[in-house]
């Protein structure tokens, strides 16, 4: 593993271990550094310039993105009604792309960077390997993702 990626994984670990982490941050604060390294061993760093698109609604990619630095904006454009939801901000320690990661039904929203953003990209294939090699960790990740989805659903419903 190159040192840059190792640094990013260390940063992500630190972000999710903070007690003041937001409810949309991955709740894996019981994980050690080596757990993060194992899960993200096959991940690929991605850097976005301000305003650069990560993916758009309808794209058929299903990778999961862990936001390490910077911030992202998420919006849902609907061509049938010519409407657009106001941009929602995603902060470091959280993820984007979790719905398509689960259902592979295309991206449900468009995501771009607000400033210079650094992400780690995990493919479904890499996750399947994690399920085989470290099933309890894979289960932890699934629960953490489910918690983020629940938080986003609650916010969408106004709870």
């Amino acid at each position: 593993m190159d040192s840059d990626k190792a640094d990013l994984i260390t940063t992500l670990h630190a972000l999710t271990s903070r007690p003041e982490a937001s409810e949309e941050a991955l709740s894996l604060n019981h994980w050690q550094a080596e757990d993060w390294s194992r899960m993200l061993a096959e991940s690929k760093p991605t850097v976005l310039h301000p305003g650069e698109m990560l993916f758009k609604r309808g794209d058929d990619n299903s990778d999961l993105f862990f936001l390490v630095a910077g911030s992202l904006e998420v919006s849902v454009p609907r061509s049938a009604t010519g409407s657009l939801t106001p941009p929602v901000i995603v902060t470091p320690g959280s993820v984007v792309g979790e719905l398509a990661f689960f259902d592979r039904a295309g991206r449900s929203a468009s995501v771009w960077s607000r400033d210079r953003a650094v992400l780690l990209r995990l493919s479904r294939f890499a996750f399947r390997r994690l399920v085989d090699t470290a099933p309890s960790q894979a289960c932890d990740l699934l629960l953490a993702l489910a918690r983020i989805i629940a938080a986003r659903l609650r916010r969408a419903h106004g709870d």
């Binding site: 301000p50 758009k56 904006e73």
Partner: protein, 349 residues
């Protein structure tokens, strides 16, 4: 057929003769024609009431979205109501009373002209400022197309009165909407380096767009008198269009925080809110010497903020989505400052 007089006012007698039933609000909004001080005073009160309605609807929409009281797809649902019910009702209620004359045809040409001038200007500015290809495409689409329906029609109703809505509807459907469907999509494909959809798909989309179909049908049926209950139904439904459209717009407000787009945002909004309508103002208003309300509405429609649907198309084709969102989310609140100024300029000249 309703032939609007050059003064921009419709007398009650004329309106009745032309099957256009003016509600008390319209009668009072057109108080100047009655030439009675008290009527004028009441008219001002009604206008203030409509302006209040406009502000309240926007704030309510914004608050509903911010507090999470509206479901995530709430804005889309409200937009769907306006598109599928509100706009067709406006078409059936008011379009048959409009006379198709040269002024109306020139009004329909205004969005095409403004889009064309904007495309040229943004192309030149893009080369001069060394803007990215996607940014130029985004500016052409979002900076060149006005929100002539969801914002434009409620604003016409507030500032000029409901009886002039059909002019706005024609500008929107035969202007902005046709440009978006026929011209903007191929431009988006060109700047987004994607293959354009087949022509048949585009034609099907246009025909299937309910307000467009309703407009064509309303024009075809313009000589067929509706039974009073049907006219009343259309007018009632048309009356819901403005508040629902404004709440929907309020739901979609929320400023994007991308900071490195200041230059193209300034460029796009300067053209959309000031330079573009000023160009149309010069061409239509000053050069022709026309002072009729249809020309006033034409310039007013061109001063509307960027079209949200154009932003959606820009996003679909990867044309600088952050800029597209900024243009629309900054442009709509800004327009509520510039539009009253435009109204003042149009009425005062």
């Amino acid at each position: 057929m309703l032939n609007l007089p050059p003064s921009g006012c419709i007398s009650h007698e004329t309106a009745t003769r032309n099957r256009l039933r003016l509600e008390p609000a319209e009668r009072e909004t057109n108080g100047r024609c009655l030439n009675q001080h008290s009527a004028e005073h009441k008219a001002r009160g009604r206008e203030d009431g409509k302006l209040t309605l406009l502000v309240v609807c926007l704030v309510v929409g914004f608050a509903l979205n911010r507090t999470g009281r509206l479901p995530a797809a709430g804005a889309a649902a409200l937009s769907a109501y306006v598109i599928n019910l509100g706009l067709p009702a406006v078409a059936f209620a008011y379009l048959p009373h409009l006379e198709f004359n040269q002024t109306v045809l020139l009004s329909i040409g205004a969005p095409w002209l403004m889009f064309l001038i904007g495309a040229g200007l943004f192309w030149l500015a893009g080369r001069w400022l060394n803007l990215a290809r996607e940014t130029i495409g985004c500016l052409m689409l979002v900076g060149g197309l006005a929100n002539t329906s969801m914002v434009g029609l409620p604003m016409i109703e507030v500032f000029f009165g409901r009886e002039l809505l059909p002019v706005g509807l024609l500008i929107d459907l035969l202007g902005s909407y046709l440009i978006l469907s026929v011209v903007a999509t191929p431009i988006a494909c060109w700047y987004g380096a994607e293959a354009p959809p087949p022509a048949g798909t585009m034609v099907r989309q246009i025909v299937a767009f309910l307000p467009f179909a309703a407009t064509v049908l309303a024009l075809l049926l313009s000589d067929v008198p509706y039974p009073p209950w049907l006219q009343a139904l259309f007018e009632r439904l048309a009356g819901t269009m403005a508040p629902v459209a404004l709440v929907s717009i309020g739901c979609q407000l929320g400023l994007s925080g991308v900071h490195n787009k200041l230059r193209p945002v300034l460029l796009g909004l300067s053209y959309k809110l000031l330079l573009g309508p000023a160009a149309i103002f010069c061409i239509y208003f000053l050069m022709s010497g026309t002072r009729d309300p249809i020309t006033q509405i034409t310039v007013f429609e061109m001063a509307m903020p960027p079209m949200i649907a154009a932003t959606v198309v820009a996003m679909e084709y990867d044309l600088d989505p952050a800029l597209a969102t900024l243009l629309v989310t900054a442009g709509i609140p800004l327009a509520f400052v510039t539009l009253p100024l435009w109204h003042f300029a149009l009425v005062a000249t």
